[in-house]
Subunit: 305 residues, 2 copies
């Protein structure tokens, strides 16, 4: 689709850490540069893959500011700013706008299970009203983790109540039909639907989606970019097959430590394995499975600088 | 059981708000005084019922400090200090100790579904190590909301790794057998198990539990105290029946707005209805159902000062 703020491949950027689990902003900025140089259009920092919910409130702000200070273009960043509550969600979203971001990706208030659509609407209306400003909001549909799905009728009500504010959605349901319903309902109005599952990139581009925002893009962005650039061309099917194979590989083990292990291997930097509990580093056996299945996809990572 | 820090009836204290949804600390302190004067032994502020996950990080600290400033005894408070991450959990738990609290009630890192026991153990070990200090930790088992249950074997490992630190558990599973398993495994060592469901107060006291921490105690603490004071006596069965009836009444409608409605009625203060989205005030119809079923229990609230 045209005029998408984050059209193309966006990585749900990993958050590297020092041995004491503090955030390594230098290593993170280097990884962001590698992503932008290797096919990523945008950087969805501070999402599930970025362990945002394992970071403290101040740490989340420090990541935003620290990356901008290190020269990462804020306009390419789509930070996760959703929390369980209005107060901190507003604070983070305003910090994202202050840092120069054009959009922010919002989880629903995920502590509460099965809130009513009226309650969710009141929540997001309050967030949007308090954020004010020009930043555009993207909804993060991830019912397996947040337990709160966004329905088409809910999005319709939210957009009507807040014209021009809600610009798109990342769908991590993994369900093609669910994502397609968003595209069919809203894409004509410029609503940007992003696949959260690499295997759905080409199928949803064919229907009018804006691209993808995925965890696996930390390692498969170059091949994702090939799919995006040529999805109507002769190479697309083969590229999508490779992309789907990398997705399968990284989801064959715990996802976040697995992605960190692949980056550790590519950078030769064992510090990349550091991860906050309750996540744990991969075992040797898990790592062997991952490396074998990933390498079998045929994808090779460009060396880090 | 003897020597429990919070032995008896503890209310999961409601958080009153102004019309703009900011926290009303004066009204909250008055409610705390009413609870202590009407049968509550302890005040489990900032829990699920206190909408803690609808409050910002700074607001949670402001509640602790604001109540102490208003004369609420910190030694009677058992604040919820669990968040999704180590950083803020440590910050809140240290703030609780600094405010004078002897214990804090910790949710597991609830964003992640089904973390491994090894991962959970690493999480809590890190929290305990960083908190340092003398504050005792209580685990909050609420799998319906947090999706992460604490097993007996997990608690055993955690206590062994951190001698003297993990002093008890609130079980909101609503499952008698689950709570009983904790009591049987650990009560002899002074581990305080609190029922999260009023209907289990007497049955679990008979087995060696320390009391209860419940939402309904905001309105039924006087009758809960009767059960606790005389659970081996002739009045206990009748008191438990009334207590269970109030529990049924308040869970016949959305729990938190329902409790706020009952306090609003008792205080004659409509401001008590204020609640943060995604929770919503009760409808008139829901309120009628609640008031009818609650009044049918025979329990009458002592007038607020």
């Amino acid at each position: 689709m045209k005029d998408a703020l984050y059209g193309g491949v966006n990585a749900a950027v990993l958050t590297p850490m020092h041995a004491d689990l503090s955030i390594d902003l230098d290593r993170m900025a280097a990884h962001c540069r590698w992503l932008l140089a290797n096919g990523c259009n945008g950087l969805a920092v501070l999402g599930t893959t970025g362990e945002a919910n394992s970071l403290g409130l101040d740490e989340r702000i420090a990541v935003l500011e620290g990356l901008v200070e290190r020269g990462i273009p804020a306009a390419r960043m789509l930070p996760g700013t959703g929390t369980t509550n209005i107060t901190d969600t507003v604070l983070l979203t305003r910090a994202a706008e202050a840092a120069g971001c054009r959009g922010a990706l919002l989880l629903p208030p995920f502590y509460y299970k099965n809130p009513s659509d009226d309650g969710l609407l009141a929540y997001f209306n309050e967030v949007i009203q308090r954020v004010a400003g020009d930043i555009r909001l993207y909804l993060y549909n991830f019912p397996q983790q947040s337990a709160v799905p966004f329905t088409v009728s809910f999005i319709d009500r939210l957009r009507s109540a807040n014209p021009g504010k809600v610009k798109g959605l990342k769908d991590s349901s993994g369900d093609y039909d669910n994502a397609l319903a968003y595209v069919e309902a809203f894409a004509d109005d410029g609503f940007e639907v992003y696949a959260g599952d690499d295997s759905l990139l080409k199928p949803l581009l064919e229907k009018g989606s804006a691209g993808c925002i995925t965890a696996a893009a930390n390692v498969n962005c170059a091949i994702g970019a090939r799919v995006y650039a040529g999805w109507q061309g002769p190479d697309a099917a083969a590229a999508q097959t490779m992309l789907t194979a990398t997705r399968k590989a990284v989801t064959s083990v715990p996802l976040i430590p697995g992605l960190k292990a692949l980056v550790a291997r590519n950078t030769g930097d064992a510090g990349w394995h550091n991860i906050r509990p309750p996540h744990l580093k991969l075992t040797e056996a898990q790592q062997a499975v991952l490396f074998n299945t990933f390498d079998a996809s045929g994808v090779r990572l460009a060396k880090a600088a």
